[in-house]
Subunit: 101 residues, 2 copies
């Protein structure tokens, strides 16, 4: 008979996975903000409209579909997207204020 695995050992293993995933998420988020910063600069430079509601609608629909495939709550995927977009808008507003002052 094999020894049962100590729950604390199992917990530590899961926490190690969570820590790795959180590091990956942090670096991917940083890269996402690098991209949206460039989008903001490009739009400002060429007088393109700052927001694009139809693009956002397509993004949300796509993310909800990906979430379903990944067994993630699609409503959470949408909440998450809105949370990140709010931060992008905060960055763009701060950048515009900086450029105007």
């Amino acid at each position: 008979m094999t020894e049962p695995i100590d729950p604390t050992t199992t917990l530590l293993g899961l926490r190690a996975s969570i820590d790795n995933i959180d590091a990956a998420l942090t670096y991917m988020l940083a890269e996402r903000f690098r991209c949206t910063k460039q989008v903001g600069e490009l739009k400002a430079l060429h007088g393109m409209p700052a927001s694009d509601p139809s693009r956002e609608e397509r993004q949300i629909a796509r993310l909800k579909s990906l979430a379903l495939d990944a067994d993630l709550d699609p409503e959470f995927a949408e909440k998450w997207f809105n949370f990140v977009v709010a931060e992008v808008i905060r960055h763009h507003t701060a950048a515009a204020d900086g450029a105007a002052s």
Copy 2:
């Protein structure tokens, strides 16, 4: 002289990167919730305390340090972490209610 790149082409390229990153984020988030679900089940099964404030403090400090390295606003990293943890707690509460009913 080379032709200047059309801003719309540049925008579409950046959006393609953002879409790829969002897909990666969605799947990593799904995997994170798979892990935290297992943590919740393990803790419930073995009567381990549901929350661990010192673990959370260490996680936030680590994420802020990773954020600095990635050139991501550390305050945003902390907000993001709290946003995800709130969802984890919502899942655990829902699971406990389901188990109790």
